[in-house]
């Protein structure tokens, strides 16, 4: 059955900003869908508020709307575009929820839009707990004993009815299990239930029997309209039930199920898909199996592609999202081709002759106040995947792919530290699910604890524990002999681990191995375990076996070969923006006739789609693995300035090994990172910098501060995303910082004068080695001192004088010249009283590159990549800075709701997971829209609670007055209220939380507060009161404005007569740029 031709225009909804539980996997799925459907001749209307996505590149859709992911904005887009169909299954839960609302509110019916892929009824059957359970019961499939409740009262009844602790609580209609948890007693139950009811869009929480310790499995199902269906992949969670699957270490295919058990699960999964009524596309069915009795119950089913389907696609080579998109427009599975073999149909089940391991990446170090115990609410921010021929090889590769300083499962300096822990501590950390649990398991195994004991503590299946025990036992046996080293490499030990164990340097180990003839071979992800020849060059390394895939493209005319290093797992500070740059580089270089090799280990990304580059190596980004690929492929150049800090950390080692690095030289990148070199350069160029010092201990630090004066900005050198960076106002906190910093980095501590009340500015530029063109100058909303990744910013700048802008431009050009930049460069300036200070320079891709590119229509990363292979900017037609006749804003999105107890006040330490973009014709409207897009829309009336630090009170008064004039009711803490009264402003006073009642928490509870303006009291630790208030607000979804500059622009926007709500496509905006240029 060919594709439907009654549909011409299809609307796709993306997933919005990157959040915990909704990462860049939906960019990957959206991009696949856009490509596949456009290739079929469909017109695509795309909506996504996230500028860092590839899918929002204007060439991926006919109309790209970077607009808030709200019902209102989407309705407006539907009205404006009148698409024939809406495909809601590729943008995660966000897209599904929005599509359901558009359907329920009659928008789709009114504009004759057909929902394809999945219908509203099927979504409801899958998402509504009761309907789901009812459907399962009718199929004879067991569900956990449970009840859905909508109030505290009915919740207590349900708990009594089930009658055993612990109980699992899952709110309905949320992302990544937001607000859920495990209650072990009545007290915990009350707290989690309240949080769950608040987090659920329909105030629904499922209370169910505990399946803690059961084995957990996921099956990825694909189905067409003729009910042809197949299981793309089975995934087994090593971490048993009770830990969110996104936070679990998982393997594919399932390892501990017999055929009888697996096939029964498979058949049931197909029946579930049919009964729920998912017409076409990919779904994911989750099962729990009691390891003692084999009893199996269904957990849930997602009627859409998911994080697991991205993983399954990368694990098997079966492109689920692409196939799902084509099935939605009417194709059947047997009509579609398996891309990898090109000879067999897409209607099959991939066979794997390797093991895939996925490990989650956590960033609890960013949220020190929060509990790092893992549960049913997802807390990881990214993941890494590794492929090996055996479990041990795959598992060890996966761990070192995380880039957390671990070189594998133990046998490294980081794990050695656990030797000092007491048995009690080790046992406690094994019993408690947490990000380091596997390292404690390693330590326990090293101490000779039997696997049965660890099994009793963790419920991890003995199969996996035995493998881990073998690894821990084998490290003592490793000797520098050929047999021993070969066996160790087969088990996935890295050169660094061997170096650690044998007391030789990494290069010595490498030389020894090569001397002995021990080297990796490369296998293909071929979907069929070798049964058919694979066309697509998608590789992984292994020491298990001798068969080595021949290197493609070496015979005949060899193209110019460029290797791009990706960014590894997403984390705070290194996310999708870097993958975006890598993908752009790949596209541009392929277009320019190069053969592009991509190396990365993040399964969520577009860069690890085998379509993105000419060759894909799914490998850890370590020197060993990267250099192995280099020696095999002999590329003409390697690009590592696009993948963030992870590849840059390899720069010097690769350079020393003779690898040709393209673009800005590693030594110049280093010069920008090296304090002394950089300071000397700044002096030579005559560019001002905040006074600074460097300290190896607290005494040196105190001496430096003596000279500089408080407040100071302190941070360890060489860290990413401002990790462990704080503003310090006095000696006490300086001492405390030193204690904490010592745990994060061994290097010295950098101390800078902190410029108070300075405006921060970001600049992205591109250079071809001769000329430098500024991509854009961005002015932050938040003042200097808040991490640039967490700050809202606008293009063009709003308050900077022409003289300041000219200085910024001149500095940028001079710096690019002095650092011999070839490629991208990002600079952060602070402007204080018309003086431009240099904060830092990063001669590499930055987080803001996609935002700048979307704003101006100039794909900076592409220009940079082509510059690196010798094309001048002039040849590329980039003559100068683009000025835009509209205003764009970038706003950060935070994961605070997932980390109860965390202070949401912004600081020099980056905490955001994602970003949104807004475009409007005035800066205040663009700002307001950015707040809507970030999920914290400012109210147009109601109660606003104001709590200001003393330094801000004077400046804030006129703004608060304007709020009152706009009709807001003002609430304030006693201190602030007094200041307001004194200037004649009426307001309701509240006690400080610790002083009595009514306080702000009561007002929040009573629903009186719709907006909080709180400028945090300075100091390393905010006051407990303020933290409790802001945390309370986050949980209730009340917007919090933490800086006066943000308040100022917001007030201006609210005063404007423009009600907002207009939508325009990116293509239309870019057309305006072309018109204004012409």
């Amino acid at each position: 059955m060919p594709a439907r031709r009654d549909i011409k225009k299809i609307m796709l909804i993306g997933a919005g900003p990157i959040l915990i539980g909704q990462g860049c996997e939906f960019d990957y799925s959206g991009v696949q869908a856009c490509k596949a459907l456009r290739a079929e001749g469909y017109e695509i209307v795309l909506v996504n508020s996230n500028p860092a996505t590839i899918m929002t590149d204007p060439e991926f859709a006919d109309r790209t709307y970077i607009e808030p992911m709200t019902f209102e904005a989407l309705s407006e887009i539907v009205r404006r575009e009148c698409p024939d169909a809406l495909l809601p299954t590729l943008g995660g839960q966000t897209a599904l929820n929005l599509a359901l609302r558009l359907y329920d509110q009659g928008v789709l019916r009114r504009f004759h839009v057909e929902m394809i892929g999945v219908g509203a009824e099927a979504i409801r059957r899958a998402e509504d707990r009761d309907k789901f359970k009812e459907t399962m019961t009718s199929l004879g499939i067991e569900s956990p004993r449970s009840r859905s409740v909508h109030s505290m009262e009915s919740g207590r009844e349900a708990a009594a009815e089930i009658g055993s602790w612990p109980l699992i609580l899952r709110p309905g209609f949320t992302l990544g299990g937001s607000g859920g948890g495990i209650a072990r007693n009545a007290e915990e139950f009350e707290a989690i239930l309240q949080r769950g009811l608040d987090a659920s869009l329909n105030r629904e929480v499922l209370i169910e029997e505990s399946l803690l310790g059961w084995k957990e499995f996921e099956l990825e199902v694909i189905r067409d309209r003729r009910n042809r269906a197949a299981i793309v992949c089975s995934i087994e969670n090593i971490d048993p039930m009770g830990i969110h699957t996104g936070d679990s270490v998982t393997v594919a295919p399932a390892q501990t199920l017999s055929d009888a058990e697996y096939q029964a699960m498979r058949s049931d999964s197909l029946r579930v898909m049919d009964a729920i009524g998912v017409e076409t596309g990919g779904s994911n069915v989750q099962w729990a199996v009691d390891p003692k009795s084999g009893r199996r119950v269904i957990i849930e089913m997602n009627p859409r592609v998911s994080r697991s389907s991205a993983l399954a696609s990368k694990a098997t080579g079966f492109p689920i999202a692409k196939i799902a998109a084509l099935l939605a427009v009417g194709y059947t599975l047997d009509e579609l081709r398996n891309d990898i073999t090109r000879t067999t149909p897409a209607c099959f089940e991939p066979a794997l002759d390797y093991i895939v391991t996925k490990v989650p990446r956590f960033t609890f170090e960013k949220f020190p106040a929060t509990d790092s115990t893992l549960g049913t609410q997802m807390k990881s921010v990214g993941e890494a995947m590794a492929i090996g021929r055996t479990f041990k090889e795959s598992f060890q590769k996966a761990i070192r792919s995380l880039d957390t300083g671990h070189d594998g499962f133990g046998a490294d300096a980081k794990c050695d530290r656990l030797k000092e822990k007491s048995d009690e501590e080790v046992e406690g950390e094994i019993r408690r699910p947490n990000p380091d649990r596997y390292y404690y398991i390693y330590e326990a195994l090293r101490r000779g604890w039997p696997v049965e004991k660890i099994h009793a503590l963790t419920s991890i299946d003995l199969y996996f524990l035995r493998k881990m025990a073998e690894l821990a036992a084998s490290e003592a046996e490793i000797r520098p002999t050929a047999d021993s080293l070969r066996a160790a490499k087969e088990d996935g030990f890295s050169d660094r681990q061997l170096s650690h164990l044998l007391g030789k340097s990494e290069p010595e180990i490498r030389a020894l191995l090569r001397e002995m003839g021990i080297a990796p071979v490369y296998g293909t992800v071929d979907t069929c375990a070798g049964e058919f020849p694979a066309v697509t060059p998608y590789y992984y390394s292994t020491y298990n076996g001798e068969y080595d895939e021949p290197v493609r493209g070496d015979d005949g005319e060899r193209k110019r070969r460029i290797m791009i290093l990706g960014g590894g797992p997403n984390r705070i500070g290194q996310g999708i923006e870097f993958d975006y740059c890598c993908v752009h580089a790949a596209f541009a270089l392929r277009e320019a006739g190069c053969e592009v090799i991509m190396v990365n280990c993040n399964p969520e990304t577009v860069s690890t789609d085998y379509d993105t580059s000419d060759k894909l190596y799914f490998e850890p980004l370590t020197f060993e693995n990267v250099f192995d690929i280099y020696q095999r492929e002999r590329p003409d150049g390697v690009i590592l300035q696009f993948g963030g800090q992870t590849p840059l950390n390899l720069a010097l080692a690769l350079c020393e090994a003779g690898v040709p690095i393209l673009g800005t030289k590693p030594s110049d990148i280093d010069a920008a990172e090296d304090r002394d070199l950089f300071r000397a350069l700044m002096r030579r160029l005559g560019i001002a910098q905040p006074e600074s010092g460097i300290a190896h201990n607290i005494d040196e630090a105190l001496a430096a501060v003596e000279r500089i004066g408080f407040p100071v900005l302190v941070r360890p050198s060489f860290v990413l995303g401002g990790r462990a960076m704080v503003i310090v106002y006095n000696e006490k906190y300086l001492r405390k910082f030193f204690e904490e910093a010592a745990q994060v980095s061994d290097g010295p501590i950098l101390i800078d004068r902190f410029l108070e009340h300075a405006v921060e500015v970001d600049v992205d530029s591109v250079s071809d080695g001769e000329r430098t063109v500024i991509g854009a100058i961005m002015e932050h909303v938040e003042l200097a001192g808040i991490h640039s990744g967490d700050s809202a910013c606008s293009i063009p700048p709003r308050t900077l004088s022409p003289k300041v802008l000219e200085t910024i431009r001149r500095y940028t050009r001079e710096l690019a010249g002095a650092l011999h930049v070839c490629g991208l460069m990002n600079i952060q300036f602070a402007v204080q009283d018309e003086t431009v200070f240099m904060i830092e320079v990063n001669p590499r891709a930055s987080r803001t590159v996609p935002f700048v590119s979307k704003s101006t229509g100039v794909p900076l990363a592409k220009k940079a990549a082509l510059s690196m292979i010798g094309r001048t900017l002039a040849e590329q037609g980039l003559s100068g800075e683009i000025s835009i006749p509209y205003v764009t804003f970038k706003e950060a999105v935070f994961p605070f709701a997932k980390f109860p107890g965390t202070d949401i006040a912004l600081s020099p330490e980056m905490k955001s997971t994602g970003e949104v973009m807004s475009i409007e014709f005035t800066d205040d409207q663009a700002y307001l829209k950015s707040q809507v897009a970030a999920g914290s829309a400012l109210p147009r009336g109601g109660g606003v609670f104001v709590s200001l630090r003393d330094a801000d009170k004077k400046d804030a008064l006129p703004l608060v007055r304007e709020l009152e004039e706009l009709g807001f009711t003002i609430y304030a803490t006693i201190g602030t209220a007094t200041a307001l009264y004194d200037s004649g402003l009426r307001c309701h006073a509240a006690y400080k939380i610790s002083n009595g009642r009514p306080n702000i928490l009561d007002f929040i509870e009573e629903g009186k507060i719709q907006w909080i303006v709180n400028t945090p009291t300075p100091g390393a630790a905010s006051k407990v009161d303020e933290i409790r208030m802001r945390t309370g607000a986050v949980m209730k979804g009340i917007p919090v404005t933490t800086t006066l500059s943000a308040l100022e622009i917001a007030v201006r926007g609210l005063k404007s007569s423009d009600e907002g709500g207009a939508v325009r496509s990116l293509q239309e905006y870019h057309q305006l740029v072309r018109l204004s240029e012409a």
Partner: protein, 362 residues
Amino acid sequence: MESKHFLALADGTVFFGTPCGAPCDAEGEAVFNTGHTGYQEIVSDPSYAGQTVVLSAPEIGNYGCCAADMESRALFLSGLIVRRMNPPSNARSEEAFSDLLRRYGKPALCDVDTRRLVLHLREVGSQRSYLHCSDWPISPAEGVRRAREFAGLDGIDMTARVTDPAGSSWEPADGAGKDAPLVAAFDFGVKRSILRSLAAVGFRVRVLPAGAGADEVLALKPDGLFLSNGPGDPAGVPYAVEAVKTLLGRLPIMGICLGHQILALACGAKTGRLKFGHHGCNHPVKNLIEDSVAITSQNHNFAVVKESLPKELELTHVNLNDGTVEGIRHKTAHAFSVQFHPEAAPGPHDAAGLFRQFREEF
């Protein structure tokens, strides 16, 4: 440490490994299977008689073995080749996989470069082989010589080695007892799952040894005839083809795998050898009559030649990977057969409806 145990192929290639089954040697035809699960069903499937099976899934033994998963009364394959052999971890497990292999005297080799072996077999086709797992030292060259000496399976009657001379009886699962139609089943190496599936749809089943003649079948006064799976080349069992010729048109017939090839031969079609056969759980088969697709379990080296189908036979199923014949139906007589395994075990249950279809012939 040069390993002394190996699999030697007739083309001269040798793969080394570590013994993990019975300490003995075996000649056999080397074939590969790409299923993720189902190693116990594979080794206990009599269709693998005379073959040394390479499993492409790298970690084997993980869930152990249990009596319920045995597909026949013994293991009939020649030997087994895996990457990693593991101890069991599953509540159903009663015995470690390597212990099962030892108990039935089957040699097995682990730590083998199975991917290279699979790719090699894909390129050169199924190979005569010699598996050396005993401690009696022989050289790889000697192994290759012995592999070349092995006669192979072409034209050989392998069914005689696996058919159960004692026969057996199965009562319908629905408890219909004597009222249920009786099916006579030729045991060419039948899998228990097939007999269980027949009983499950309401048949009484009498299992007859492969060599039973048409008169023995008719003496049972059956209502239908079932032709089972089995090992080797259908050309090796001319007597079975003759029996089916006699019975065709007199009884409704269903055939699976070797039984399917025998039915085809009885109707005048030809069979031939596939390069490396179909062995796995993921083969898409299109039902041309219903226009549906099933993911199927497969295990065969020989196949019915599409071009040879006489006009009495209708092509009902094709393999979507390579277009080979997967099912036929006789246009006038009540007879149909499939090349794949609707009983699964191991493999997907997508095509289980075929047993019901056979039941509906009555």
